[in-house]
Symmetry: C2
């Protein structure tokens, strides 16, 4: 089947319609945005800051979020604050008995901040109050509407997160890449026991003209990865496609696949293979949905018991 070139007028009409949709979507997004930040966000800030400057309250929440201690350095990056400003706020919280500040055991330059028991109590109380406020707000709706609302919010959050995640090509030996691969290895070890870090492909295989390695970032954190290497001329293999547990069910693996496939096409590969395990049912469904079909074993691994391949269309230039 061949695609006919489209008449100019029709194409223009289509594009205009696409822009129209886009404009309407942008407007809907911003409508929500304004409504939500004004109504809910403002309210939240108001209550969050009860008895404490908003900045300090936010800092306290960020410290609590980390569960274990966080360095001032990390907090600075996450909250985007000035070093001096942060230093003073942390001290204020320490003076209030909410946090404990200590020196990092391995690096004496770093200060670690963690909640004191009193801080935990305070946070718990704040959370309780916020829960009550939220529940109050929800009582204006019946059960079905509540369900609908929370589902819509979950959907929106999922897609907003996905939209904010970027996938970047990095060297297979880069710290972020290694961190992902180690997490991936730990995952497999926990699941299959027999997996060891030596089963990972080397950085040199997933770089240069015959391979590639991608890392997905969410707000600066590496939350997923995937590698491509060449098995034989024209045939590539996907390795170590992994997504951080906290970033699953967003559709991120699919995005990683898209990048890997594009890289493969750019390298002149027209066939991609991969192996996976029966226990990863979702992964298998995802591969199938993305056009991969099951094939007999092309390689042997301790954990692999399903093999897939996909024929790639000829490379298309980046729009």
């Amino acid at each position: 089947m061949q695609t006919e070139p489209m008449p100019a007028e029709q194409m223009q009409a289509e594009q205009m319609r696409a822009e129209q949709v886009q404009a309407e979507q942008v407007a809907a997004f911003r409508r929500f945005n304004r409504y939500f930040t004004r109504r809910i966000g403002a309210l939240d800030d108001h209550y969050l800051g009860q008895g404490r400057p908003l900045g300090e309250a936010r800092l306290l929440f960020e410290v609590a979020d980390a569960e274990t201690g966080v360095s001032l350095r990390t907090l600075r990056a996450r909250l985007g604050l000035d070093a001096g400003y942060l230093s003073r706020m942390a001290k204020a919280l320490e003076a209030q008995g909410m946090v404990r500040i200590s020196v990092h055991p391995d690096d004496n330059r770093l200060r670690m901040v963690e909640l004191t028991p009193a801080g935990h109590v305070e946070l718990k109380e704040q959370n309780r109050r916020a829960d009550v406020r939220t529940a109050d707000l929800l009582t204006g709706l019946d059960g079905r509407q509540r369900t609908e609302l929370t589902e819509a919010m979950a959907t929106a959050r999922r897609l907003l997160r996905l939209a904010a995640i970027t996938v970047e090509r990095v060297d297979g030996a880069a710290p972020d890449a290694r961190a992902c691969l180690e997490a991936y290895a730990a995952d497999l070890t926990a699941r299959f026991g027999s997996f060891t870090a030596s089963d990972l492909v080397g950085p040199e295989e997933v770089s240069g003209a015959t391979g590639a390695f991608f890392v997905a970032y969410e707000e600066g954190r590496a939350v997923g990865c995937g590698g491509l290497r060449t098995l034989e001329p024209g045939v590539g293999e996907l390795k170590h496609v992994w997504v951080h547990p906290g970033a699953r069910r967003l559709g991120l693996a699919r995005r990683l696949l898209e990048h890997l496939e594009r890289a493969a096409a750019e390298r002149g590969l027209n066939l991609l293979r991969l192996d996976t395990n029966a226990s990863l049912t979702e992964a298998r469904a995802m591969y199938r949905a993305c056009g991969y079909r099951e094939i007999p074993a092309y390689v042997d691994h301790v954990y692999a018991d399903h093999w897939f391949e996909k024929r790639l269309p000829p490379a298309t230039p980046l729009r």
Copy 2:
């Protein structure tokens, strides 16, 4: 069919499950809330305040929102600001040439604020930039995901608005009630020409032991109303159920009906009637969905051509 009294243990289990659901919904709500205000809200504030204090920028937006002039008094209520603070900010915007401040024609105490042409230009530019930022954010998603996201947001906004609307019983002669009825009359006049304000029921009919009048409020604004009067012993009539155009499709009319029906039951009425017009197809569908069934004409109005009634169950005490 008779409802069996539920065994105590089962009831408790049910209640616990309900609370469980509720807790999960509250948690989902708050998760979204935190994510959204942190990611989008903060970003928005950052850009909103470019070249101008955030407070002034917000004020400018609020003035623009009103389209026609707004009084400082209203702005104060909407933004929750101190009178002195607001007075100064308004002056600052005036000095920048963004707004014009004048005295209210009917009340010399009030100051009216409205955008100057320069203010309109400025706002337009700000909006354009915000649109670009939003579009950028959306490019991280494919067309289907974008649609899904904007639909989820529209749903969430609709339900949040509905949750925030309160319905209150007020005197039929109260200013808010009159304002709603006038808007209602204007609606009908625009549609049918022949409707006049004298076709409205009098305040005395929708009050006391034989009637009731309800007004729906959204953030302090009256956005809907509905009246109940007694036609004959045991038979009531719903009159002037109306929802502000900007608050339609939220499910508000249904809420008004619930209040009216409860009031009717409390007054010992067991049959409710109402009339409506064929052109109000949505209203008719809503009445049907709420258990009203079509009956022959029980009264004659210039605009009425459909009549409904509903038999009420015996009064149940407020939970």
